[in-house]
Symmetry: C2
Subunit: 147 residues, 2 copies
DNA sequence: GTATTTGTTCAAGTTCCCTGAACAACAGGA
DNA sequence: TCCTGTTGTTCAGGGAACTTGAACAAATAC
């Protein structure tokens, strides 16, 4: 106990940490812009908007894509239905299932998010140059592929 | 309602999303390596290890750096004290405060995390080249500075 | 020396996820 | 066709990781 004066082999930079910080910041910005556009959406709800098909998706599909349990996704959907962003319609192909589709209000919210993402991408080009951004994106994709 | 056949102005790439995916993957790897080294540390605990000074830190300092409430940080510290990774010692400079310091076991866990981070950095150099990695890090730092 | 701020802790509540269990509808084989 | 096993959803209960509010002692500021 008490200051073992240990010698640590310590990295100079932690790229993982930098990635986390950058992601958190940009993500917050998207959340805030959507809120500012008049949509009282909670952070967790983005899992729905990111994964839903324009023609509608089943709950199990959404859960699978978001890597979460169907029960958890169900609660997010319940909430967004209550707020008017989604509708559940019967799936004509399977009477057990329901298709979850965006309402007009849901499309508005999605467009607000897309607008902000477009702004961010434009800023990134201005900041890093088109080539620099493309290089970074390629690197990030390589990292994500490894799983 | 029902398939408004809306036209959406949609971004081609979402760099924010790519950043999130890459970060999640690398972070998981660090967590798993620390666990594999025999330290049953929960993800939230990393907020302590990332922010603690070698000479010890106050609870309020840790909370500030981790951008969370002192109460939440207090619970993380309680837990790590119970598990033997931290100690609370009186702060000689202020009798209200306590210095939170790493035990030998705490240093072991920190070194396990550092080892994995070093491995990851080496792999990133192999993957992207030293120059490519440096460029990406510079870009990430610029993004994070903006707050 | 009194008033305000600071550092910590107790208590209660929220968000966001989980597992287990139930039940109806589908799909395959005898 | 009936039986079995799987799939899609939902109800119920619980845990992890935060939050705010309130208390109290010790420091600091006039």
């Amino acid at each position: 106990m008490s200051t073992p004066s240990r010698r640590l082999r310590e990295p100079e930079v932690n790229t993982t940490y930098l990635l986390g910080r950058a992601h958190k910041l940009l993500n917050q910005r998207i959340q805030e812009a959507v809120a500012a556009a008049g949509h009282p959406i909670r952070p967790a709800h983005s899992a729905v908007f990111v994964n839903i098909d324009r023609a509608g998706s089943r709950l199990t599909q959404l859960a699978e894509r978001a890597a979460m349990s169907p029960q958890a996704m169900g609660e997010l959907v319940d909430d967004l239905v209550r707020r008017g962003y989604l509708e559940r319609v019967p799936d004509p192909a399977d009477r057990r299932a329901k298709l979850i589709v965006l309402t007009d209000l849901g499309y508005d919210a999605l467009q607000a998010a897309f607008d902000t993402i477009l702004d961010i991408e434009a800023e990134l080009v201005a900041e890093l140059g088109a080539g620099g951004l493309a290089t970074m994106q390629r690197a990030l994709r390589r990292l994500a592929e490894e799983d």
